[in-house]
Symmetry: C2
Subunit: 144 residues, 2 copies
Amino acid sequence: MDRIDYQILSTLHDNARITISEMSRMIAMSQPAVTERLRKLEEQGVITGYRAEISPSKLGKHTTAFVLFKSNNCKEFEVFGEATPEIVDLYRTGGEYNYLLKVVTETSETLETFLETCNNFGFSSTLVVLSTRFEDKSLVGSTE
Amino acid sequence: MDRIDYQILSTLHDNARITISEMSRMIAMSQPAVTERLRKLEEQGVITGYRAEISPSKLGKHTTAFVLFKSNNCKEFEVFGEATPEIVDLYRTGGEYNYLLKVVTETSETLETFLETCNNFGFSSTLVVLSTRFEDKSLVGSTE
DNA sequence: CCTGAAAATATATCGCC
DNA sequence: GGCGATATATTTTCAGG
């Protein structure tokens, strides 16, 4: 993992659909060499995937919240988490609560319905997101 | 936005680097038609970007935490948030705290240093992530 | 590990329905 | 909106340093 690998990671973090040819021009290296480096970064698990970012509001999902959760039946709760489309992220945490969920719903009413379902599994505390300042800041600094 | 648009979104959410030709085969539509639909989805802001997912641990970042924050100088705090590479996500929230941060650091020691810096801006409460069950579940159901 | 060249794919841009 | 055809660009593959 040298500086060129970091440049590749940084570039793909900004735009995962860039062509390898264009990247190879940006970083002044032949296109087959970039292809091979990229293949290795994927193989080693440094890059775990590529995803399109989709605007929740354009899909009618206008409410985002984080829910702290305390469950005493973790297996059951995780099955529920997997099966529930509103739960976008699911983290196991230390401290008073044992789960943190990111939840995306259509309106605050839909969020309320979701939270009522949650009450079947334990105790929760909700933080409503008013706005997102930024998300997914790059882990690789521009000069690494 | 019909069923085909949802198929395009779902496919790109799973793999943002798929070729349009391959997508056009999967959804049985001509390549120029898929290209045109994709162009419109980007133009309308339904798709806001494409990013590579990078494994924090492969970059030596082994600690993730969420930090609840109460600041009484929001402008100052947001400038700090932008400038601080450890802060990966920054949300404005309602309730007792006014910010929620996702923080990624190398070790728990680096997290501690970060939290000490934070104390200059207000009061915080930290939830350490033990493990991530899943992240970025698709907002578009497979049959929409 | 990288380059350069050639063959196989993919994309952009037509005119047409 | 979508299709087919074609010109341009990109990716894959591989011999050679």
